[in-house]
């Protein structure tokens, strides 16, 4: 606020940085050709590729179709992982017996990278959507379980004692004490899960798919079409970004008490 200057908003700063990157990109490719067009496309080429995929389509579909299909698969796998993983993790956090029972399986499965499941998923379910949802589910499941478990364990013991002294039991204890108490770490888990979902989806689509952003990347690679590769990458970035933002909104909305 000094000298009458207003503090520039985060949006303005972010926008300027982005604009600067585009200008540098233009300078490095089109203007000076420090980066030869064979390795990295010019902004004009990317715009051209963007127009091509949205109007005529590319790799068996238009950009909207690829984009929505990928989002849909991630959402399905993510929802299934969260729906199963959060309750299971919370159960393990609450009950030592459940933990003793389930944890050994987890110790065995945890070190296997989700991508290593892709071949098996293809053998079981083929190249269609089911195989991808399965792999995405698996990628998201582990962080969802582990963080929900840690979330319940992170609740101060005196809070649980206070609840029991107030006569709070059963469903009320789970819904109004354990769940909100674990929620900050559950959301940490969901953010990790969502990232893992996108990584896995793109990898799975690269190996084999009919539509999807990963399929666009694969096809563009085969066609030696750098501009289209960049369009696919931007698509993945935007889709992932949108979902992360939505999750952040949900987090802020569901925990009005939570101080940052």
């Amino acid at each position: 606020m000094r000298n009458g200057w207003r503090e520039p908003s985060r949006l303005a700063v972010g926008g300027s940085t982005l604009a600067a990157v585009v200008v540098l990109w233009y300078l490095a490719t089109t203007f000076t050709q420090i980066i030869p067009p064979v390795y990295f496309p010019t902004p004009a080429e990317v715009l051209q590729a963007f127009r091509q995929i949205t109007v005529q389509g590319y790799a068996d579909g238009q950009l909207q179709q690829h984009f929505l299909h990928s989002c849909w698969l991630v959402l399905m796998g993510f929802a299934a992982a969260v729906g199963l993983g959060v309750p299971l993790g919370m159960l393990m956090g609450w009950s030592r017996r459940a933990e003793a029972l389930i944890n050994p399986v987890f110790l065995l499965l945890r070190p296997i990278p989700p991508l290593a499941w892709i071949p098996l998923a293809i053998v079981w379910l083929g190249l269609g959507d089911a195989a991808k949802v399965l792999v995405i589910w698996f990628a998201a499941f582990v962080p969802a379980v582990i963080n929900s478990y840690a979330g319940v364990r992170s609740i101060e013991p005196y809070l649980i004692e206070a609840a029991r002294s107030l006569g709070i039991r059963g469903a009320m204890l789970v819904r109004e004490v354990l769940f909100p108490g674990a929620l900050p770490l559950i959301f940490t888990g969901l953010r990790l899960s969502l990232q893992a979902c996108w990584t896995t989806l793109v990898a799975a689509e690269l190996i084999g798919a009919i539509v999807g952003l990963g399929h666009v990347l694969y096809q563009a690679g085969l066609d030696l079409f750098p501009a289209m590769i960049v369009v696919g990458m931007i698509g993945v970035a935007i889709a992932g970004g949108l979902m992360t933002t939505a999750l952040g909104r949900l987090e802020a909305w569901s925990m009005p008490w939570h101080r940052r």
């Binding site: 101060e156 005196y158 809070l159 004692e161 206070a162 609840a163 029991r164 002294s165 107030l166 006569g167 709070i168 039991r169 009320m172 109004e176 004490v177 909100p180 108490g181 929620l183 925990m255 009005p256 008490w257 939570h258 101080r259």
Partner: protein, 265 residues
């Protein structure tokens, strides 16, 4: 209302394969609607005693009974006020106070009436929909005390409830608690390491010794309070200025100091 009886209670812990006695051979009674404070150095097992009355811990030998029944677990008939307040951060002031009433499935009209009464009594008006982190420590502890009182419990168990408050707030809360105890008398077991606080609040003060926790002496404060008319004073500092108060306080201090030097030898 109920009484609390500790009958030859012992509580041992095993730590690194060594058997440690936290409490040993403790017997005393908190009579119906009596306010008993336990004082003692940290690690004397006073909190363990309270936890056993709450049903959050259990004796290795002897028994703890509340209202003639052995304690088998925690419950709303024995309300606990914790040093860390233990408010639910995701619930507002009113939701925190109402929580136990909802668990007891009381009708809405009665819940409203009761919560409203304690919001008034504890000076929480205007903060009904605040979250705990928006309140000062003193206000948070008011909510915790209201949450306990509102359940109309047989006994109240307070574990150093003012231990984490600053000196001024602490004094105000002590006065509030005395007022509250006059409006609705309760059987109270109160844990503290502050001697003045114990003498000011309690009818009787139980002095515990350090490890293993045993009872050193039980001091009848109520008799002195009556005889010397402490109740004519509104303020803590005026009571604490009374010669009879100073005398009791010094007596308890000496007891605690003696133990300390015994331990150091």
């Amino acid at each position: 209302m109920s009484n609390i009886i500790f009958d030859r209670v012992a509580r041992h812990f095993r730590r690194n394969g060594v058997d440690l006695a936290a409490v040993d051979g403790v017997s005393f009674e908190v009579r119906k609607s009596e306010f008993v404070a336990i004082v003692g150095p940290s690690g004397c097992g006073k909190t363990t005693c309270l936890r056993m009355a709450a049903g959050l811990d259990f004796p290795t030998a002897g028994s703890v009974t509340v209202g003639g029944k052995p304690v088998t677990g925690p419950g709303p008939d024995r309300s606990v006020v914790f040093q860390q307040f233990a408010l639910f951060p995701w619930k507002t002031v009113v939701e925190n106070i109402d929580f136990g009433l909802r668990a007891a499935r009381l009708p809405l009209t009665e819940r409203r009436e009761r919560v409203g009464r304690y919001v008034d009594l504890m000076g929480l008006k205007g903060h009904e929909s605040a979250f705990p982190h928006q309140l000062s420590g003193g206000m948070q502890q008011r909510v915790a005390i209201a949450r306990s009182y509102v359940l109309d419990p047989d006994v109240l168990l307070m574990d150093e409830p003012f231990g984490s408050l600053d000196a001024q707030t602490r004094v105000v809360m002590q006065e509030e608690l005395i007022k509250l105890a006059r409006v609705s008398p309760r059987t109270v077991l109160f844990i503290t390491h502050a001697v003045e606080e114990a003498v000011y609040l309690a009818d009787r003060v139980v002095v515990m010794t350090r490890r293993p926790g045993r009872i050193g002496e039980i001091i009848d404060v109520a008799k002195v309070r009556m005889d010397e008319h402490w109740d004519r004073h509104e303020r803590v500092e005026d009571v604490m200025d009374e010669a009879s108060f100073v005398h009791l306080r010094t007596h308890i201090w000496r007891l605690l100091r003696e133990q300390q030097s015994r331990n150091e030898q």
